[in-house]
Structure formats: C-alpha cells, structure tokens
C-alpha cells in the first residue's frame, strides 16, 4: 500500500498505528492527506489506504495491520450509509471488535451534524463521529485520550477477547465521542 513518504520522522515508539481510509464510493483524497499529516505530526504511524477503498480491502488491511485506531473519512455524502455497512464488517472480525474506530467528514447529503445520524453511527459501533461542523481540535483530543501503543499492547489480549456480539456499542464510546462542537471547521476545505 502506497503511503505518503514519512517526511518528518516524528513517529514515536509510543505512537499509535493508525489506518486512515475512505470508503468504496468516495474518490476524494485531500481529506485523507490532511489526516495523515495531522496524525504523523502527533507522533503516530499512518497507513493510508487512499481513494475508493472496497469493503473487503478495508477489512483485510485492518486485519493485517491490527491498528490501534481506524479513521474513516468520507466527503461525498454517502459516508453515512457506507459507514453503517463498513462498521458491521469491521466489528464482525474478532481482532477488530474493540479497535477504536471513528468516522468523519461530510457524511450525508442533507447538511451537517444531524443528531440522529451521529447516534445511529455510534450505536452501530463507532467510537466517535466527527461531522463537518466539528473541529479538528475535537478529533485531536479524541486521539490524545487514547492510551499509548505500549500500554495498549499490554492490555490488548483483554481488549481483543471481546466477542463480536459484545455489550452495547455505546458502552465502548469514549467520553469525547458524543460532544458536539458546532463551530466551523478548517477541515471544511477538504470537502
């Protein structure tokens, strides 16, 4: 898988292994480029899957990499429907059942921040929903609240032992996930 060549060498041992991806119908990539740069600046290692990622490829790459975080970004207005489908496939894999997974961008064609849409995405298994109205700072604080890779590795067996039909997904949602930040986002230009 091609990646933006690491240009800054900031990845730290404690940094997370992150998969950044979009979904099958979305050919936009500036949003993915931005997220990769942002995460690398925060010291994480990114595998960027690029444009139009089919479900099977998305799942197989995540199973192969077993990342600490999966970031789905979509800006073509199909992200809500595509995202509901993809999270089922990810959560059905035992090794990905508890992997922190977030979705963001412009997820629907009917404007931003529809609370129902966010609720159903969280209920479907996402740990965070970052619609266009929510700031980059919000996403950063979510990532910052994740345990470092080293400690995750220690606790991984317990995490990953969760069965696919685990308790209510909302139980896993991190505290930041449901916060709303209605301010305009600089990431708007990526749409």
């Amino acid at each position: 898988m091609n990646q933006l060549e690491p240009q800054r060498g900031k990845a730290e041992p404690a940094g997370l292994d992150v998969v950044v991806t979009t979904m099958a119908s979305d050919s936009h990539t500036w949003n993915l480029v931005f997220l990769q740069l942002l995460l690398e600046e925060l010291g994480h290692r990114v595998t960027n899957l690029g444009a139009c990622v089919p479900d099977e490829l998305l799942v197989s790459e995540c199973r192969r990499i077993e990342p600490d975080l999966i970031v789905l970004s979509s800006v073509n207005g199909h992200g809500y429907h595509d995202g509901l489908r993809v999270i089922q496939a990810l959560r059905a894999c035992p090794e990905l059942a508890a992997t922190p997974t977030v979705i963001g961008g412009k997820l629907g064609i009917a404007g931003s921040g529809e609370p129902d849409r966010q609720r159903s995405l969280l209920a479907a298994g996402y740990d965070g929903v970052f619609e266009e109205g929510r700031s980059v700072a919000d996403f950063r604080s979510f990532v910052g609240a994740l345990p470092p890779a080293a400690s995750r590795a220690l606790s991984a067996p317990a995490d990953r032992a969760l069965p696919a039909d685990r308790a209510l997904p909302a139980d896993r949602a991190l505290p930041t996930a449901a916060r709303t930040l209605p301010t305009a986002s600089a990431s708007g230009v990526l749409r």
């Binding site: 898988m1 091609n2 990646q3 933006l4 060549e5 240009q7 800054r8 119908s25 050919s27 936009h28 990539t29 500036w30 993915l32 480029v33 931005f34 740069l37 942002l38 600046e41 960027n48 899957l49 690029g50 444009a51 139009c52 990622v53 800006v75 073509n76 412009k106 404007g111 931003s112 600089a186 990431s187 708007g188 230009v189 990526l190 749409r191």
Partner: protein, 449 residues
C-alpha cells in the same frame, strides 16, 4: 494569405466535428466556452444543452456522466433510474440509445458539438455508448483519470485507454474526426507545479495520437498565480506545436479546479481571470465554473450566466494588447526533462508511462494511488506561486530557480488548499460593485471532470 473567418454558428455548411468547430471559432477570434453539466433525466439534459446552445457566447455542449457509469457499475445506474433515485450525471450507458438520440436531435450538430465528460479510468463502455448515440468527442486519459480518482492499477487503465482510443479513432474510417481531450493538465486539481501538469497533458496527447486520434486538445487548469500560468500555457502550446505537428489541436483551460471562492463576487472574479488568461495565452476553449461551485451542483441558469460572464471577459481582453514576452522560470526545462525521460523508456507510450511511474520519473504530489511513488512534494510559496519542495526521483532537480518552500504540515496544507478561495473572496469584499450575498456552507471542493 487571409482566410475569411467563418462564424462558428453561421449559416454556411460547416465541417462537422468538435475540433473543427473550435478551430473555426479560433480563426474568428472567439473563445469557445463550455460548462460541466449532466442530469439523469433526458428532458432536463436536453433543456440544459439547449440553454447552453442559446447562451450569448460561442459554446459547445457537455454531457457529464454520473459516478456509477463512471466506475462501470451499470447495474447501480440502472436501479437508480428505475427507483427514481437521484444521479449526479447522465447515465449514457443505461438510457436506451433512442432516448439519447432524441435528447441530441436538433441540438447537437456541426454548429453545436457535444462532448461527453466522464472521469473514468476504464472508459471502454462509455466510448461504446457515446459512439452508439452518434457522439464523437470526449476527454480523460490513462494517467489523469487513474491516479487521482481511482485505485485501478495504472497498467490496466493504460490497456483500457488504448482500446478506447482505438475504438474512438475507428470512426475516422467513416470520414468523421473524433476528438479527445487530455485531463492531464488537472491531476489532483491543485498544488501541482505546472511542469508536471504540462508533461502529463502532452504525454497523454502523444498516447492518444499513437492510438489513432488526429484531433486532440491539451488541458491545463488555472492555478493560483497568473504570471506562472501564462508561462505554463505558453510552454504547453510550444510543446504541442513541436511534438504534435500533424494533428488538429488546441489548448483548453479549466477554470480553477481547487477549493472555489464562496462568494458570488469571488467566484466571478476567478472565472473572469480564467477567461482573460485563456485569451492572453492562445487557449481556444475554456471550461467554466459557476458561482455555485463552492456550494452545490450548479443549475442550468447558473451555468449560462458563467458562460456569458466568461465570454464577455474574453471579448474585453481581446481589445487589450496581446501578451508579448513571458518570463522563463524553468517550467519549460522541467516539462521537457519529464517528457524526455518518459519517452526514452519505451517507444510504446503506454508502457513508458507505466515504467515512468514505477521509477518515480513521474510522481504526482499528494497522490495516494498505489502506483504513484508518493515522494514528490509541492507547496504554495510566499510569492503565491507553486513550487517543488521535493522532486523525489523526477529528473528535474535544480532545473528551476526560486525558493524550495518547506514541506507542508497539516495546518499549512489547509492554508495552501484554501489560498485561492480566501484571496478571491477577500478581493470581492473589497470591490463594492460586486454582488455580495452571505456565504453559504461549503460544499465539495473537488475536481470533477
């Protein structure tokens, strides 16, 4: 010798063909303007074409296809039609041939040629569909519709584009002159230095020629700096004259393809600058953007307004002294080095392109496609011009002077991507006679064909 200029839509019999129409307009001293426009409903598509034809401008028509047809998912296009679900373009391979012929009847002719715009890395089914309805002009390219917008392996896109070119060129046996336009002058839409845009546009044109086309347009997309664009288009024209002397050819300029101004005034200023740029540099055709670009798919009316705005700006620019000298900042040297390095790899241009990307001799900055080396980096300099920050393995190190801006971080990337939007919206705010309606939320700042 003076050849009397024929008005493109005069009464005299006209040679059919997209390229011939543009050549007549150029000889008459008129810029051809063209919208991006595609509706799923045949009647609305026909009305859109009629409105384009009727605009107070020298226009050609566009049928933009939907994204299901683009990606070859004809079943999805069919079921969307059956269920009345909205499509974002005209599904030319799904409507019956008779329906599309009826859309075009009395609209598309030698005085109003229509081009199909699609965005497909694998366009063979689209070429077959447009030939079946009597059309013969389209656009794209094996690199420019593969790397930025798909994950199709480049070698597969090259093979499909070779078959597609041969299919389109087969019309020549029947006396027609099919036309194909490169999309290589756009690539990721923004932040690509001009030399690479020129090189890919020229290489795609050479690929089209190698596979039988004899009427070709070479694209270039407007970038942030006018003077840099003047140099780039001058170089593109020079290289086209030199490398494609035996084909009917013209330059086509795309109004800015990146994040567009949000205000109507800013959008209009940017479009007018594009029209002036086209006239000054000898581009024969301009593809417009509308004031709705930053917000949504434009209406037919907004497209007609954009066509007329661009035509008026172009006509005014013709009255001004022509561009005489452009500075040489190394764009030509870089473009020649890139083209030369690719052509040396293989006499088959398609194979040469695949090998060039594998070797990193061509490397599109910020392109995530698996077949792109991904080492090159570009940036917007403090001078407002595009520069290389890292040329990767491209054979152009040291060929242009000027600064090497540092590699962009995430915040600076956002700034560079929205620089044109910001600066034109600011200019509009300083210009009191432009209508200033409040900015609506941003929509897709994306390049569609």
């Amino acid at each position: 010798m003076t050849v009397p200029a024929t008005a493109p839509r005069g009464d005299a019999p006209a040679t059919p063909g997209f390229g011939a129409f543009v050549a007549r307009a150029r000889a008459a001293g008129t810029l051809v303007v063209q919208p991006r426009m595609g509706m799923a409903d045949p009647l609305r598509m026909r009305d859109g074409l009629l409105a384009t034809r009727g605009a107070a401008a020298t226009t050609v028509g566009t049928i933009t296809l939907d994204s299901y047809t683009r990606t070859g998912d004809l079943a999805a296009a069919r079921s969307a039609l059956n269920e009345g679900v909205g499509l974002n373009g005209y599904p030319i391979a799904s409507h019956p041939v008779d329906v599309t012929r009826a859309v075009l009847r009395g609209v598309s002719d030698a005085r109003f040629p229509v081009q199909v715009r699609h965005g497909s890395a694998m366009p063979e089914h689209i070429i077959r569909a447009l030939l079946a309805v009597g059309l013969d002009a389209t656009e794209g390219g094996p690199v420019s519709y593969c790397l930025p917008y798909s994950r199709t392996p480049l070698s597969e896109a090259v093979a499909c584009w070779r078959r597609s070119c041969e299919l389109l060129a087969s019309l020549r046996e029947f006396g027609a002159e099919p036309h194909l336009e490169t999309f290589g002058g756009c690539l990721m839409g923004q932040l690509c230095p001009p030399s690479l845009l020129i090189a890919v546009s020229v290489l795609e044109a050479l690929f089209f020629r190698q596979h039988g086309l004899r009427s070709i347009s070479l694209s270039y997309a407007q970038q942030p700096d006018r003077v840099q664009d003047e140099e780039a288009l001058t170089v593109l024209g020079r290289l086209a004259d030199e490398l494609l002397p035996d084909v009917d050819r013209h330059l086509v300029l795309y109004a800015y393809m990146g994040v567009f101004p949000r205000t109507p005034g800013g959008a209009r200023l940017l479009l007018e600058d594009a029209a002036r740029l086209a006239v000054r540099t000898g581009a024969a055709r301009l593809i417009v953007k509308t004031t709705a670009e930053a917000h949504r798919i434009p209406t037919v009316g907004e497209n007609v307004t954009a066509l007329e705005t661009a035509a008026a700006a172009a006509a005014a620019e013709r009255l001004r002294p022509p561009l005489t000298a452009v500075p040489d900042t190394g764009i030509e040297a870089e473009a020649r080095a890139l083209i030369g390095a690719v052509l040396e790899l293989d006499t088959d241009i398609g194979r040469a392109l695949v090998r060039a990307f594998a070797a990193g001799y061509l490397d599109v900055p910020y392109c995530l496609h698996p077949d792109n080396a991904g080492r090159a980096r570009s940036s917007l300099g403090p001078d407002g011009r595009l520069h290389w920050s890292n040329v990767g393995s491209m054979p152009i190190a040291g060929l242009s002077g000027g600064p090497r801006p540092p590699i962009l971080g995430s915040a600076d990337l956002l700034g560079a991507l929205s620089h044109v939007q910001w600066s034109y919206d600011s200019r509009a705010a300083e210009t009191p006679d432009l209508d200033r309606t409040p900015a609506a939320p941003r929509e897709l700042g994306h390049t569609t064909p």
